[in-house]
Symmetry: C2
Subunit: 253 residues, 2 copies
């Protein structure tokens, strides 16, 4: 059994706590958060603290706090033979300042407080400073997910920016789509099936090959008609992405 302490009170910490509480091969020894109120609901399941000097003995300390507090918290964790990990996609393993074994346990998913996640299909990207630590993280990852990947810090940084494109930016395009619908009294739900299909299609077809629409057809008449009914901000996005599609597919306007 792997004994863990989870540090943090945000979305990632909450989802990890809920997930590990269900697993028999993992035991949550303690929960830490600067503001104790946030982790109070978990007190019935595990001891809680807001004092870093009170941390109990465990195998792995999982720092699931916001990115800019990882260094500050980790440098107060001095457990020579223990493993201290962070859960951030944006930061290298060196962001950890403790004099322990170090690692990263990065679940690549978008977490919202009020929405359950299927952890069994969530990719867990792991990295460690030594083989023994990597083995522990692999075991920990496999206890919650079928998909475990060894990803180094350089790759993880790229993976994180790729995730910004396919998640944050995609979601913003959904917002723009909804704005256009709202303005014209069109129910946004009409777009849900095509959104679903667009995401599903690339599970079997390379996204470059799946590209359709007026940009790749260089259908300038339709492009001009579209631009005419958009706001300035929407036009800017439309033009840039249209040109990017054209460039990508080896053609020029």
């Amino acid at each position: 059994m792997i004994k863990i302490v989870i540090l943090g009170g945000g979305n990632v910490a909450f989802h990890l706590i809920n997930e590990f509480l269900k697993k028999k091969s993992v035991k949550i020894i303690q929960l830490y958060n600067r503001s104790i109120e946030k982790i109070k609901p978990f007190e019935v399941f595990a001891p809680i603290t807001n004092n870093l000097t009170d941390l109990k003995d465990a195998d792995v300390y999982i720092i699931a706090v916001s990115d800019n507090h990882i260094a500050e918290i980790s440098q107060q964790l001095h457990f020579k033979d223990k493993l201290v990990v962070h859960t951030s996609g944006a930061h290298a393993i060196e962001e950890l300042k403790s004099n322990s074994h170090k690692g990263v346990f990065y679940p690549l998913q978008t977490f919202s407080k009020n929405k359950k996640i299927d952890f069994s299909t969530t990719p867990i990207c792991i990295e460690a400073t030594d083989k023994k630590s990597l083995k522990i993280l692999e075991k920990l990852a496999k206890s919650v997910s079928e998909k475990t990947y060894e990803i180094n810090s350089t790759q993880r940084k790229s993976l994180h920016v790729a995730a910004v494109f396919v998640n944050n930016f995609v979601n913003h395009l959904f917002t723009v789509g909804k704005d256009i619908c709202d303005k014209n009294n069109i129910p946004f739900e009409i777009l849900l099936p095509i959104i679903h299909e667009t995401a599903q299609k690339i599970e079997t077809i390379n996204p470059k090959e799946a590209q359709t629409g007026p940009a790749i057809r260089q259908d300038n008449k339709t492009i001009d008609q579209h631009l005419a009914i958009l706001t300035n901000n929407q036009q800017e996005i439309y033009k840039l992405l249209t040109n990017s599609i054209i460039k990508h597919h080896g053609k020029k306007l």
Copy 2:
């Protein structure tokens, strides 16, 4: 029973033919395409022709050809008491030049030749010049889909551009995400669960409220680190969408 003729040999025509062939309330009287070879495979199910003057008697003539041929083909269809419709999201009902009843039968979905579509959940947007024609189109739409919407030409134009944002542009962002993965030897499949979740999330949460990531947090440190590892073209997209997210949420860089 509604008797129909389908004109066209592309993706939309193929999917419609396959779908209507399965329905008992609809009978395909004839198929037309300029190049007869393309519709040859359907010859066993319905008579085919490449001659517009040979068209048989039917209730509805569905013009499912590429956008720039709708006017040209429709002006050769002179059936005074029949219904002639096109299937285009980009064009107004007036694009039809026949002296018949007119309508639009626009299935809002992304069609690829080698991928089956669940038609029962595909929204069909209909419009007609008169009530009787609208009733026929409604019946036709409901024979293949649970989701039928009456959408006028102005709304449809906006819906079409919204679909470009949430389908064509989103797919391009998937392509950029894959480019970044490929360059760093990261399997693209790691991103599929977050892509799936991003699309699914907005079925229950408004996309504006679902927005996460460094842009909405105005996390400039992460933004700068991301920009540093992108190509020029990727940087342009990253900056514009980051600024658009910030503007959208009432803040300024």
